[in-house]
Symmetry: C2
Subunit: 223 residues, 2 copies
């Protein structure tokens, strides 16, 4: 029975790792769609979010079945409940990738991000992509060093987010209000994406050490 | 034992209702702080978010204790797991109120919202405040009619959110990029606040009917 339960917990982990793979593909394509004004690519991201949502639903149902049929205790219980929460974070990361893709679609055939801000947004996209890949590894291996690295990545993301605001608010910036709105939104999406990756890392740290990290921080407005 | 469990579930509900009360107070004060550029008021919202976070942590711990000590089945299990999720929504609503307050603080002594956009933002704040009060009632009473009303309120919020974008992007609008950034962010905060209220409503509907509503929708970019 215990061995059976552990097998099923492994199943939950595998499902979450698969979610990170899909989310990673989504955010990578969304960033390219955004920067290249690629309508078809943006559509693929928007359509693929359903798959992520479906996996999330499966994960939830599987976890609830495990809770009710196996009546797990202590560590097992904590693992299953925490998986439910991590699933929610991953599902939300998928939504945020979809939002980036929608921004690309909305402004097509124009690029939503002007030339001078592209390097920053590209870097945000790369960090996001790296973070979700790392999140998958953290779920699979429970490597705490890697989990801690995600906090450093998030600091890099926050710094870039501040840089984006600074660029928008620089007196020499000549862009339109529309561009300012678009860039503000997509900056926010990437920054929240990173926060959810850190949230998953904190949950894994909690599972391994029993210690709660700081709650989801969201230091957006340190402009 | 069952009666005991039901008593404790009532305790979870009461804690969530208390969270809605604190979140309601926070969003009301945050809106006033934002529109009146009231620094002291914004500080009270930022400080009070710790209380909401603490209540959320208590709720989580209580739910985990119930899961492990009482080993609930079927409906009871679903109620406890769903409470965990509702708690996360409410905690996030508190964060969003704090973000609105931080925006007010960041621009002090200037108002972050220009005169011509104040009526729309005020209305968003009022809808948000009404929604969280209704959310408390839905949790306490499981009134499905009220839960459905929250969807209509959310439609109103989304419409206002679109109006805000339309106002910013109107060619005749004379505001600065800084204002566009600020208003984009606070519009997004109110809109997400409403989404989380709807998410709680859907979870209550799920508890009562066993039916899942549409997943968290987030139709932000229907500008």
């Amino acid at each position: 029975m215990r061995a059976h339960l552990h097998g099923e917990q492994y199943g939950l982990s595998a499902q979450m790792v698969e979610m990170t793979r899909l989310v990673g593909s989504a955010i990578a394509r969304a960033t390219t769609a955004l920067l290249e004004a690629d309508l078809d690519l943006s559509q693929t991201v928007i359509a693929a979010d359903e798959q992520i949502d479906a996996l999330h639903l499966e994960l939830e149902e599987q976890a609830l079945i495990m809770l009710s049929q196996q009546r797990p205790l202590s560590t097992d219980l904590r693992t299953i409940v925490t998986s439910l929460r991590m699933g929610t974070d991953l599902e939300r990361m998928g939504d945020l990738a979809r939002h980036v893709a929608k921004l690309a679609r909305m402004r097509y055939p124009n690029p939503a991000v002007p030339l001078e801000l592209r390097p920053m947004i590209l870097r945000m996209g790369q960090i996001a992509e790296g973070m979700v890949a790392k999140t998958g590894s953290v779920i699979a291996t429970r490597d705490l060093r890697l989990a801690t690295e995600l906090e450093t990545d998030d600091d890099d993301m926050d710094a870039l987010h501040r840089d984006v605001f600074a660029a928008l608010l620089d007196r020499s910036w000549q862009g339109s209000v529309e561009t300012a709105v678009d860039v503000t939104l997509c900056g926010r999406y990437y920054e929240r994406f990173a926060d959810h990756a850190v949230s998953v890392a904190h949950r894994v740290i909690f599972l391994v050490t029993g210690e709660r990290s700081r709650p989801d921080h969201d230091p957006t407005l340190q402009v």
